[in-house]
Symmetry: D2
Subunit: 341 residues, 4 copies
């Protein structure tokens, strides 16, 4: 069985394994107050060219979204994502469980359109009844999106402008950030993200780490007593250094970007193969997630040899599935798939 | 500097490191639906002699308490701990943030007294106004307690009886469970815990793992859709197998108990030394946490060479500090402390 | 100025005023444990032909929705309304503030379609990822809807069937229930509502009372300790009898239905007049709310003499406004409007 | 049966009844945006000599406490009351249900001691672990307390000083405020309360109104979008004017104080009688609640003719009961009690 099921089925980059073994018995102070976390933060600040960034390490994506969104929003505020955004659809109501409405906008290839955001905000404040409604308190985007697509630099700038105009933060979920930045055609850099977004997180779980996400507040805008808020959300790791060491490794010698490129290279070859074999792409994704629409019969055949993710039914006879590559995908596995198709 | 600061400053047992490296590139399915988790669960069931136990792996202690307590309680119910219980004092309000009152009882050496629990429950239902009050919905104990002390088998049986009488579960926080079970004098076994408690968790973070706690529902009493509830609390690890492998290792060849013993042996020697040197124990703890009351001046002196945890002030000139050993404590470090005192 | 602004701008029916004055100094026990509440409940049970119904009196609509929905749902569940449902749009996030997602479906004339509900539920359970999603735990309808429209008996039966199939309750928000039942053409009776709905509430605030909503659990399905839950939601009135007396009055000699009819009769005449004057109805509402779409210029003119509610903009030059009648609307006011147009 | 069960068993002062009937059919705009609310607010501002006060009307006490406390606190903060404070004991967990811990201090005659508050705050910030604890974010007092006792002007000033020093608000629950201010011996005026407290509420439910509490923010410190927050807590009354008219009446010609005095006069006579008859006062309360400790046998006897409230058991044979008078208590009822004892 050849698996392209997801991008979180391997462990950690071997350099992380090596360093964890190295510091394993050192005896390091708890809760992230250690030199490895400090070093990792400093390297991330440099990678973002954002020397004043305030950085925190959390364990997973849903946890990070819940903790950040709940901590940043006022209790009368909700968050605006695309209807396909992770916070809207696949977090089991984690945002609502912490008291906030998710105010979804339509998606286009997994993205929200700046114009839709502007219209929504404008209309909200025009509505005479808006005191009886949830205030829009944050715009949430994922980059890459849940459909593997990317915002352009222009779109980020536009979204940032709109958010500034309404005095609400722009928050970017970068669970797969490396895979977005490693695409050749993108005009978006880490630095751009730090400039346009008020808050973003750099995904570790899907890009080389056992687990871990680095939340970056770029505008001296971390919530007061954020450590207490992290603790309150059950998200403060006793061995914070376990995350610090991993991010310190990922941001040493550009490792994060180097290993991200592997996902893109293998995905590109995979797309080539799928195209040759006559598969139909459901969406044109430049990153490590490839969405293919197939007849159910053909899918059954495929699943004899290949593990992919079910995505959605498009009609009674067709299904969208996802092939995912990652930092750990071996090109030989891709070629092997080609042979087996 | 010799550190006895806490029991979570080292990483993972080397056998865990070895196995993580071994499976690192295997490509394992996500969210705990993997064979390592299954194997770990089976081994835990055997260790508890509780074949029908339902087991889940979470990342940290506060997260586990919050997720379990919120999922098990009805919304009109609160949880009863000792006033020194972790959920009452050091979780930044995680229980209240999920909507539940913490109904504290007085502590005696860190423990709640069965009689106090019985009186509380009896009085609650005698109060004509109890419909305007939070219903007691669960009894929470930590074993070892936050003061390193242990319940006896008789006390557990008594608490269990009271809980059954009022149809509420007994929940045991076993963040340091191994250290409790490894004490020679205790009459409490893992099997007893599974028998008397409706829910308990086996701490990994403080006993040999990078992170991870194994929640055990012993009476076919896991909440419906508990995976969804874990997800909603931001507590579902994408790479669930990362926890599974660690617990599978800890419960292979009795490793969990073997390494727990080291904490007790080193603590025993440490107590001997402290006693010889004339230190006063604040509480008589049989486990890996040793509480010493000192004059502030003497403490200042000590802290030049030794790192301990501040616990509390007893008066203006005296302070209680904690020395902690762990699975990873080297006896030579203890002896070195003896020399330096 | 002639006002058709809303249906809650008058106080209480004079018979209620009379009875409140009558019992004012009686000295009645608190929190709804009084004979007026008991009597009102009994009369409502008779009106519903539902002798086993469990009934509670709350103060307002949003409060009732929040308390009922939060108390009935499990924490992993959300509620399914139309996107125009009150709980989805105009309760300032009260449902989310109590931890639950609002799972909106498209609306057709303010109603959800049984087929859409069935499809949603079917698709949810077909989705392999549904453990990471909010479970649908209740269907919410308003009757009349926020657009004044009504479900048919057939639609209620169908919705009820679907809910039963998925073991989730059907909840009907009857803030304006009287106005729905008083329509001549409707085939839905109070008895039907008690039969098809698991929970519904009978609106008092908009139908003759100063305030008050009567929640009816029709299937012996009131949540355990519901009084405690009401208290916890800040919704338990000390002088519960103040609500009891009002509902007792409204359900004596069919007063509730009689005064509801006045809203329908005056609305019918109002519609006639508006039609004669060439106004365009935005939606065909048989109840006491009339939605008219107008050019903004014409609206400005109208607003010199008449107070209506802004509803929504349909384009840059057109607006939908609402005319509302009520139990207290004097027909002479309607005729006066006719003259002034 | 002569009842001294509580102070909320009568309806509204007859002048309120008269005015409600007067405006009943006027057609008044909703949600508190009406001239009666405005007028009531202005009169309250004058009564407090606090022209810049921001005032809101809510329906009941628990609702008011929940809405105010949740809206004012940050999510990492809790509220500090006496252990006997209403928010700590008899609100069914309403504060925790909105996410906040109740940080109780010991009570002395129902009051918290300024020194205890200062010590708590000082100790909190001295604790090295306070980032893992709930931050104290507000001090809550009731005046009169749940035991009928009163703070002195000096105590209020001291509490105010401490709160200012730690930058947290002092909040006074005035569910029975009138009864506190009407005591002859008190040195506390409404003006003092507005000066020393950052927020307080003036109870209507227990002092002459059907229902209603007026929340006063004295330092231009109302939470942003407080109307939205009220709505979100299910506490925004559609017919806001129903509360406005009541408070407007209560604050016209000093009615609130005049009728409050009746409770004090009748309570004074009641105490005299009880003293004569040899009853033991459990606590020395100067206001309208009188606590008497009795042998259970004697209590049984008493309850044949008199309705009082059970308060608490002091031992197996003794019980504390409460006699309450109110604005509506007829002196003849008191004398009749005297005769029957």
């Amino acid at each position: 069985m050849i698996s392209f099921e997801n991008d979180y089925s391997e462990g950690a980059h071997e350099e992380i394994l090596r360093r964890l073994a190295e510091v394993n018995k050192e005896g390091i102070t708890g809760y992230g107050n250690d030199s490895y976390c400090e070093s990792a933060k400093e390297k991330i600040r440099q990678a973002c060219k954002c020397p004043e960034a305030d950085i925190y390490f959390l364990v997973g994506g849903t946890q990070t979204n819940q903790t950040v969104i709940d901590s940043v929003l006022q209790s009368y505020e909700g968050v605006i994502p695309a209807e396909t955004g992770h916070v809207a659809s696949h977090e089991a109501g984690a945002i609502e469980a912490s008291g906030h409405k998710v105010l979804t906008l339509p998606q286009l290839e997994g993205k929200i359109q700046p114009k839709d955001v502007a219209d929504y905000l404008n209309q909200f404040y025009s509505d005479g009844n808006h005191e009886h409604m949830v205030f829009p308190g944050m715009v949430y985007i994922s980059h890459p999106t849940e459909y593997g697509t990317l915002y352009t630099r222009g779109e980020l700038a536009e979204l940032s402008d709109i958010c500034q105009q309404y005095h609400i933060p722009l928050y970017l979920d970068g669970a797969r950030l490396g895979y977005g930045l490693a695409v050749e055609d993108t005009d978006v850099t880490m630095e751009d993200i730090a400039e346009y977004c008020d808050i973003f997180y750099i995904g570790g779980t899907k890009v080389g780490a056992f687990c871990g996400e680095a939340v970056v507040f770029t505008k001296e805008n971390a919530p007061r007593h954020f450590v207490t808020l992290i603790k309150q959300h059950g998200a403060l790791l006793a061995k914070g250094w376990f995350l610090g060491v991993q991010f310190d490794t990922l941001f040493t010698d550009d490792l994060y970007m180097k290993i991200s490129k592997n996902a893109i290279t293998t995905a590109a070859r995979l797309k080539e193969i799928l195209k040759e074999k006559g598969y139909d792409f459901y969406i044109d994704s430049p990153t490590n997630q490839i969405f293919v629409e197939m007849e159910d019969e053909k899918l059954k055949e495929l699943e004899k040899n290949v593990r992919v993710s079910f995505w959605e039914k498009t009609d009674e006879k067709h299904t969208v599935v996802r092939f995912a590559t990652s930092w750990a995908t071996d090109m030989r596995k891709v070629e092997k798939l080609g042979e087996s198709l």
